[in-house]
C-alpha cells in the first residue's frame, strides 16, 4: 500500500487563497463540466455517474447513481444537498463549502440537470457563517454568469438553487430530520418506511438527498468520464475521498486520497499526511469513521481506507473522519464524552435512545469521576444491549433512526479493548490520567 499520485478531484484549487472566487474557478476549468453535461442528455449524464460508481460521502456510502436511478422512474421533484456536517471530528464539507463553493454549485446544477429537477435546496449548518456567505456569494455570481437560474448557458434548462441555514442540531444531518427542518419544523427523523425521501420527501414529494462532497465530485466526473473515476480506487471503493484526520497526530487535516489504496498507517504516519503520533508517543486506538463507528487498535492500522475492507473488519468508514488517540488517552473519558454528545443530541422521540443515552452518560461519568462500581461494566453493556440488541455490527435498529443504535459503539469498543482501565478507575476511585 502506498500514497498514490491519483489526481486531486475535489481539492485541486485549495492551494489558491482565492479558491472561492468565480475568477479562480473559471481560470481552473470551472463550469466546463456543466457546459459539457448540457450538451448530453440527462440520461447520459446520469449514466456517467453510475459508471463512476460514486458512493455517497455522507456516511452511509450508498451509490449515488443507484439512488438517482430509483428516482428517475418517478419524476423527482426536489434535490436537497446535505451540508449539515456535525458528526464529531468530521470537517471535510466545511472545507468544501468555504474554499470551493463554485465546485459545489456546479455539481449541484449537474445533478439537477441529470435528475431534471428545477428546485434545489442546499442545507448548510448554521454554525458555518462564513460557509453560508461563500455559497450564497458563489450562487449570486453563478446566476450572473448564467450557470444557475433560467436558461443555463442558453441550453433551455433552468434551475433555482436556495441556500438554507440550519440552526444547531446534529440530528438534522439525518436526511429525514433535515427535510423536517427545511420545512420549518423541529428536526425529528421520520419513520422509514414509508418516509424514504425518494418516495415521500420534501413537502411529501420525491426528493434526492446527497452530501456536499458527493456533489463536489460531479464536475470532475462529467469532464473526465465515469470510467476514469471508476479506474481509481479498488473494488466498490472508487475514486478519491476526503479523510479528515484529527486527534493526536502531528499534522491533523483533510487529505484527499485514492480510495482503498492507502492504509490507516499511511494516513497517520506518512510525513506528507499525518506525520505520526504527536510527541513521539505510541498509538493506543483510533476511530475509523466518525464517533458512531467502533474503534480500532494498533493491530488494525494496516487496513486499507476502503468501505468494504473497513466494514469487514467490524467498523465503518462512515463520514471519513479518523480520530487518533495516543497512549496517554483515557479511554473512559473519551467514550464518556462521545456518549454525552449522543445524549445531548438525541431528538427524544424513541425511548431506548432518549433514556438509554442519559443512563449511559451518567454511568460513564461516575466511573470516570471515581464513584463507579465493578458491576457498572455489566450495567453499561446491558443498557447498550437494550439500545442495540446483540451489540452486533452493524447494529440492530430499534429506533426511528440510526443515531440510537450508534450510541453503544464507543462504550462497547472501550470496554472490549480497555476493560482493565475501567477496573483501575473503579479500584482507584478516579481517573489515573487526571
Amino acid at each position: 500500500m502506498a500514497i498514490t499520485d491519483a489526481p486531486k478531484i475535489v481539492t485541486s484549487r485549495l492551494g489558491h487563497p482565492d479558491s472561492h472566487t468565480l475568477e479562480r474557478y473559471l481560470a481552473t476549468g470551472g463550469y466546463e463540466g456543466l457546459r459539457k453535461a448540457l450538451t448530453m442528455t440527462p440520461e447520459a449524464v446520469a449514466a456517467e455517474v453510475d459508471a463512476a460508481s460514486l458512493l455517497g460521502r455522507g456516511g452511509a456510502g450508498f451509490p449515488a447513481g443507484r439512488k438517482w436511478a430509483m428516482l428517475r422512474k418517478d419524476p423527482v421533484t426536489y434535490l436537497v444537498v446535505n451540508g449539515d456536517e456535525s458528526e464529531p471530528a468530521t470537517f471535510k464539507d466545511h472545507l468544501l463549502v468555504e474554499r470551493d463553493p463554485h465546485q459545489l454549485v456546479e455539481g449541484v446544477v449537474i445533478a439537477a440537470y441529470a435528475l431534471q429537477v428545477s428546485q434545489v435546496f442546499i442545507f448548510i449548518r448554521g454554525e458555518f457563517a462564513l460557509g453560508l456567505e461563500r455559497v450564497q456569494g458563489a450562487l449570486n455570481d453563478a446566476y450572473a454568469h448564467g450557470a444557475v437560474g433560467a436558461d443555463i448557458f442558453g441550453s433551455g434548462f433552468s434551475v433555482d438553487v436556495v441556500v438554507h441555514p440550519g440552526a444547531g442540531a446534529y440530528i438534522c444531518g439525518e436526511e429525514t430530520a433535515l427535510l423536517e427542518s427545511l420545512e420549518g419544523k423541529r428536526g425529528f427523523p421520520r419513520i422509514k418506511p414509508p418516509f424514504f425521501p425518494a418516495a415521500i420527501g420534501l413537502y411529501g414529494q420525491p426528493t434526492v438527498v446527497n452530501n456536499v462532497e458527493t456533489m463536489s465530485n460531479l464536475p470532475w466526473i462529467v469532464r473526465n468520464g465515469g470510467a476514469a473515476f471508476a479506474a481509481l480506487g479498488e473494488g466498490r471503493s472508487t475514486g478519491t475521498r476526503l479523510f479528515a484526520l484529527a486527534g493526536h497526530v502531528n499534522k491533523p487535516g483533510v487529505y484527499e486520497l485514492e480510495m482503498a489504496k492507502t492504509t490507516f498507517r499511511d494516513l497517520i504516519y506518512a510525513p506528507v499526511l499525518g506525520g505520526g503520533v504527536r510527541h513521539g508517543r505510541e498509538l493506543k486506538a483510533f476511530i475509523p469513521g466518525g464517533v458512531s463507528a467502533p474503534w480500532f487498535g494498533p493491530d488494525q492500522v494496516d487496513l486499507p481506507l476502503g468501505q468494504d475492507e473497513v466494514g469487514a473488519a467490524g467498523s465503518m468508514l462512515g463520514s471519513g473522519s479518523v480520530v487518533v488517540m495516543d497512549d496517554h488517552t483515557c479511554p473512559v473519558r473519551a467514550s464518556w464524552r462521545i456518549t454525552k454528545f449522543f445524549s445531548r443530541e438525541s431528538c427524544g422521540q424513541c425511548t431506548p435512545c432518549r433514556e438509554g443515552s442519559g443512563w449511559l452518560e451518567r454511568i460513564m461519568e461516575r466511573i470516570e469521576t471515581g464513584s463507579g462500581r465493578e458491576e457498572d461494566l455489566d450495567l453499561l453493556l446491558d443498557a447498550c444491549d437494550n439500545i442495540a440488541p446483540g451489540l452486533t455490527w452493524p447494529p440492530q435498529q430499534t429506533t426511528i433512526c440510526v443515531l440510537g443504535p450508534s450510541i453503544p459503539s464507543s462504550i462497547g469498543s472501550a470496554i472490549k479493548m480497555f476493560r482493565d482501565e475501567f477496573l483501575v478507575h473503579v479500584k482507584d476511585g478516579g481517573c489515573p490520567y487526571a
Partner: protein
C-alpha cells in the same frame, strides 16, 4: 385582522424577510432563517419577533417557539453580545478543550450557559463545530477564531472588550451577510401580498365558523 399591525422588524429587515419567504414553495420553510434574522436585530428571539415570524409564515407564535426551542443556535432568552462557543467534543477534548473551558469559566467568571455581568459574553460548551484540526476549536458569534490556548483566549476576550474585531465578528446570528441578490424566482412583494390575502381568507373563515378558536 391584518395590515394594520406595525412591524417589529426594521424596514430593511422586513424587506429581507419578504425576500426569504418568497424563496420557498411553502412559507413555513422560512421559519428558521427568519429566526436567525430576528436574532441578529434583537440579540435573541423576543416574543414580538416570534409573533412577527409567525405572521410571516402562517403559524402560531407557539409553533415558532416550539420549533425554535429545539435548536441550539436560537435563543429565546437574552444572550451576550458575543456568544463564545468552546467545542469539547472528542477531537477538541484530546486537544485540551476541557482545560480551556475551565479556564474560560474562571476568566469570564461565568459557568457554561451564563452571561457576564456586563452583558458582553455568553459562554457555551459546544458539540463538534467541524474545525477539528485546529483544537481546541472556538467560535465567537459563529465565526471561527482558530485554536485557542488559555493565554490567547484571554487576549481575544480583551480585544473584544475593547471593541476590536467588529468587522470580522458581526452580531450573533449567521445570515447578516448572506443575501440572495439575483435571480429571485418570485417577486417578494407579490408573494407577500398573496400570503397576506391567504391569511385574511383564513381569518375570515375562522370568524365565520363561529367561536373562532375551537377546532
Amino acid at each position: 385582522m391584518t395590515g394594520a399591525r406595525p412591524s417589529h422588524f426594521s424596514p430593511e429587515l422586513a424587506e429581507r424577510a419578504r425576500e426569504l419567504v418568497a424563496l420557498y414553495p411553502e412559507p413555513r420553510s422560512a421559519l428558521i432563517p427568519l429566526c436567525h434574522l430576528a436574532q441578529e436585530q434583537d440579540g435573541y428571539l423576543t416574543a414580538e419577533a416570534m409573533e412577527e415570524v409567525a405572521a410571516l409564515v402562517g403559524v402560531t407564535p407557539a409553533e415558532v417557539l416550539g420549533t425554535a426551542s429545539f435548536y441550539d443556535m436560537l435563543h429565546t432568552e437574552p444572550v451576550g453580545r458575543y456568544v463564545v462557543a468552546i467545542c469539547t467534543n472528542i477531537a477538541c477534548m484530546l486537544g485540551g478543550a476541557l482545560e480551556l473551558l475551565e479556564h474560560a469559566e474562571a476568566h469570564l467568571q461565568v459557568g457554561v450557559g451564563g452571561t457576564t455581568a456586563d452583558g458582553l459574553f455568553t459562554l457555551e460548551e459546544a458539540e463538534c463545530l467541524a474545525d477539528c484540526d485546529r483544537t481546541p476549536c472556538v467560535q465567537v458569534n459563529h465565526r471561527f477564531v482558530g485554536a485557542q490556548t488559555p493565554e490567547s483566549f484571554e487576549r481575544l476576550v480583551a480585544e473584544l472588550r475593547a471593541g476590536g474585531r467588529v468587522e470580522e465578528i458581526p452580531p450573533h446570528g449567521t445570515l447578516v451577510r448572506v443575501r440572495r441578490t439575483i435571480g429571485l424566482a418570485a417577486d417578494p412583494a407579490a408573494v407577500a401580498a398573496e400570503r397576506a390575502a391567504e391569511a385574511e381568507a383564513r381569518a375570515a373563515r375562522e370568524a365565520a365558523s363561529g367561536d373562532g378558536g375551537g377546532r
